[in-house]
Symmetry: none
Subunit: 307 residues, 5 copies
């Protein structure tokens, strides 16, 4: 039976069909955080996004697709997320071992001079035949190509719902509309979380916001109403509030690789701010496996004991 | 049984199938203005359009999607309009409590440097499965991307009609073709209302026009025929006339948040000019709930006693 | 806002999308029984099923399709149910006045010598364009053609759900598998209610069961466990229990025309047994209108005061 | 501009789209009866139904498809109805000269030993490419194959409506369920008219009923309520009443060839009974053309001066 | 029966199916010019193209969509052409009263800085459900966006033909390829008529050409072969010749509003040059109705007595 916490979270998705709810429940009932309503997900799309050497040279075991799903399983993650090739390579041999999230679009780093836009590289049909529990998708709010991304998402999310698959949405502001600093500005990240929720995402993934307000119109409001943005904890709380007052699952990425202490300090604040979890890629798979598992366990513990 | 007024208004839509008429009737038979043929609709798309803090910080209850539909129900609005995420969050728990309008396209404020164009973020299929009474859509006459918007609307409106859903069209002139002042010029707003009606909209939403004529060719005509534009009442009457001589439902937005007296003074003129109602977002949900209900009731009273 | 009773009933349909729930809510929020969770529906398919003179000669106003929808509206019924032609004739002129149920299959009495089977005479597409709140369908458990009926229903119910339409299922046991008396035997009616619920019906319509057990195997069980069937009230309670222990809406037909006292005495027992309402055709429209309204009001009162 | 009579008749079809209404108007605004709301239609499907010699030997000009459309035009009929081959042969050369009704199903007389059922021999697509104003279809109530016929009609009528084509329905009771005499029994013909109307037909074509009541259950009602059936006029009135109390267009066939006086006497009673017109095949095209035109004019005069 | 003239014109369209021919015949068999092969059509798309006040302020009755169709009917025009909204507003109430032409694309005057291109605002499906006799479409030869326009037209014209609808093509040269004067240059208008005919248009609408030759290459030819362009009559004859030597229907617009004498003088020359008629909007609906009817009658007379 689902815990009261899991039932409460599912109640926020009351318009969804039982298939979508059941897959959300699967994600919440898996791993060391099962039943807590908290999430630690292992995503490995960096091979596509940044290239293989940048991703896997620090810990060459990661060139092998089996490495990551085993890491996710051994560490007790809620789910493992990856592009089509990585998922296809392991879906059969590890069938049923851990919920899979098929990332349906991905962007490589080989071309330049255009507004950020990922290619659609997988389908809902793929997610079903591979036994996945959810689809994943990335939007770039602020991009000149955002409308095409939102519209493609509209189609995918509707198709996925119909077959009982929830959507995990990576919302990464970037593009001509934003300064580099603005990509992680607290107003912009909160806005991205809101957009993701309005587009119908079930689980929203954003970056931890910085203490910077990008938009002039927003700045007036943050000042007038004294929205606190000095501590990461406060900023996290604001982003979670911005996703339907905490009634959508919002999880945060770990970002670039860094030291264990640094990671855990950041996670502690993220957890304290009311986040539903972390999605941690490079900080996990670029470490030796034992260290990675230890780190992931520490991260899980941080979320387990929060609120 | 529908009132004579509701029957009269429905008679203007005689080419529509009974499904479209029944949903128009539902909108007119709901709330405190039921049976009068007048409308006060609560729209909450500002989270998507302007960002969460700018929208909800003034009255933080509004971060929660339930706040708005409850406000609409408690105030006795004819309908509640919002993007997919907000509608999905409440459609099941408040099923049947108030007619819903699913806004099918939305535009965020994070990107720059392109002609105004909303992304299509919902579908007619969504509107049906969520039990909505109408679809909503925004066009930007004056935008370099207007043709794509009109064409996408053509497809959506035809698809919606076939399944009995009427269309509420937000017609907001903006883009390279217009000065900032021109966006609310009386000739431009009247023109936008005409375009909306010609595109097949059932309910047309425009901004209250200012005493300014933007287009040189129009200016000659307004002067030659002495079209009065000095008072808001006269301008409203001209816009309503421009939408098939008052035989299409035209409602006006409240625009930016302002003081109660200012709102009610404007509404009094809008009602006196023959408008069919108001669509009032920020001026409603950014106030404390009790005040908002009081204001909405005053607005409804103004329309109820007009003509 | 829906009453607690309506919310409770809707909670039994939690796997449905908000569109289906909203239409169930519309049915429950209409007419004199609005908010009670009880139903009195006027069905007029007898012109098709029994022929025009047998149906309408007793009260010739009923030859006119407008008569019946006006009777349903004036009496304060929850809904009006009829085949395509009758619905089409009134759907536009009475748009929005009362929830409509389009009966998608119908059977005439002109042919002989085959197992009972209705023809499919309308579609979900028709229900949408005509603005209906539900589809209706008839199955004949016991017929040699039952499987085709169940399979066609499977398709229609799935199609209807996707667009937010619930299904009202007439479950009338008849055919080579049953004696004439067996068609209303308590075990058979209870079985039909169970089949209807298992097929996915949202509202189940059966005939009041008689104190007769048709099936030998069932007879043993009814005797062994002392299932009371002597009073109509007990039999109704057993049928309601047989439809998911009262967690599906079960309503009962009035059957052949009879005297007012007889009708009301029967209804009192039906209501006492826990039925959700009556669907009353001939006993309503074959009386003069004023008498029919009076009778329908009495029936509504009986249900309103039950439990 | 349409006459008041035509407008009144169109008002009975208020749920239809303007395309269907416009084609109904075309039928009513054509020929010598234009504007009266009355119809005389020439149908020539006997070549298919009875064979060429039985149909055309009496007046061999009729072997040529051009003969019939010219007769219909010269006589001032409202429309000409025929199967695909006859329509295709003349549709181009006489384009626009008279409204065409494409009979979409037909039955030949070469096979035996099965329940009556026509083959579908044309399509809505054919009707459009050939410039027809309506489709025609035949049902055989009483046939063991009636359900397939009703279901095929359901699809065709929906498809035709969507593209603006009304449906003319030949309702000819026959089959195992009926005695030979019963095929034209007054209760059976009235029942067939009701079924046709409930199936969504716009124009209903039945045979003039005989003074015979076929069904035992009906007989009781006809006697109890004293429904007059002695005169043809009374029987016609009853059939028209049975088609939605005269709010559907019901026209009557002339049946087998007979003498002019006999035809006109029958037509006089049909017109007096409130029929909307006649559909007259063999009695027209099996006479020499001049005589046929004279007869058709007399028939038209009878309808023109009725009520 | 069609006149010899109508038959002759239809013979030029011998590759079309009977549906297209029947609708062309309907256009030619309607109004005061019925049977002459000449056309006077009332087009009212100026509300969309120029804005409501510029279009309707001179005669405010025209704000009401009913005004125009009534003017067209009362004046005895062959057809009434308008965008979706205007057609929808009247199609049901005036069903069958006059052939309707649904203009499938339209362009507003609110945007700037791009090559001329209309938005597609209606569909063939709309034309059918609204009972129209033809579709209308505008191309801008000379525009940088001409190819998209021609290609969209290709699809629409093919789709329309399949369902029996002919195409009326507005061919208005404009865009970066042409000087302002060049838009009505005789070589350019003749060229536009040729393009329209080659694209498959059934009825071609161009502006009366001026005595100017725009293109250098054309100028040499006009001079070398002494093509007369001094009189409007000669220029009209040349344009008609350029549309398949007069074997396509070419009609001319009246252009901007002007005095009655001026209009009639121009029309006299147009008629003398062999034009098939006029399409007259502003010069008709911007006058008081009685005057407009008188003017339209005079125009019709001019065409009726020509050749």
């Amino acid at each position: 039976m689902a815990t009261a916490k899991v039932r409460e979270i599912l109640s926020w998705y009351s318009s969804e069909n039982p298939g979508v709810k059941a897959n959300l429940a699967r994600l919440m009932n898996t791993g060391r955080l099962a039943g807590t309503g908290k999430f630690v997900i292992l995503p490995v799309d960096q091979g596509f996004e940044h290239g293989p050497a940048r991703s896997f040279a620090p810990n060459p075991g990661g060139y092998d697709p089996r490495y990551h799903i085993e890491l996710a399983i051994e560490a007790g993650c809620n789910a493992y997320a990856a592009p089509l090739g990585f998922i296809e390579h392991v879906a059969s041999d590890y069938a049923g071992d851990i919920p899979l999230i098929l990332k349906l679009n991905n962007s490589d780093s080989l071309s330049k001079g255009h507004e950020p836009c990922s290619a659609i590289t997988g389908s809902v049909e793929d997610a079903l035949r591979l036994g996945c529990a959810a689809i994943g998708y990335t939007i770039y709010p602020g991009s000149g190509a955002r409308n095409e991304q939102y519209q493609d998402l509209r189609d995918l999310i509707l198709e996925a719902k119909a077959v009982g698959l929830p959507t995990v949405l990576w919302a990464y502001p970037r593009g001509a509309g934003l300064s580099k600093e603005g990509e992680t500005a607290v107003d912009v990240v909160a806005y991205a979380a809101q957009i993701a929720a309005q587009l119908g995402a079930h689980i929203i993934k954003v970056k931890p916001p910085k203490d910077h307000v990008e938009q002039a119109e927003a700045k007036k409001v943050y000042e007038k109403f004294g929205i606190p943005t000095a501590s990461l904890k406060d900023r996290i709380a604001h982003v979670v509030q911005s996703a339907f007052n905490g009634r959508r699952i919002v999880i945060f990425s770990g970002g670039e690789a860094k030291g264990t202490d640094e990671v855990l300090k950041e996670v502690a604040e993220i957890a304290a701010g009311g986040a539903f979890g972390s999605i941690m890629g490079r900080n996990a798979f670029q470490r030796p496996k034992a260290e990675a598992i230890q780190l992931l366990h520490s991260v899980m513990d941080a979320f387990a004991k929060a609120k």
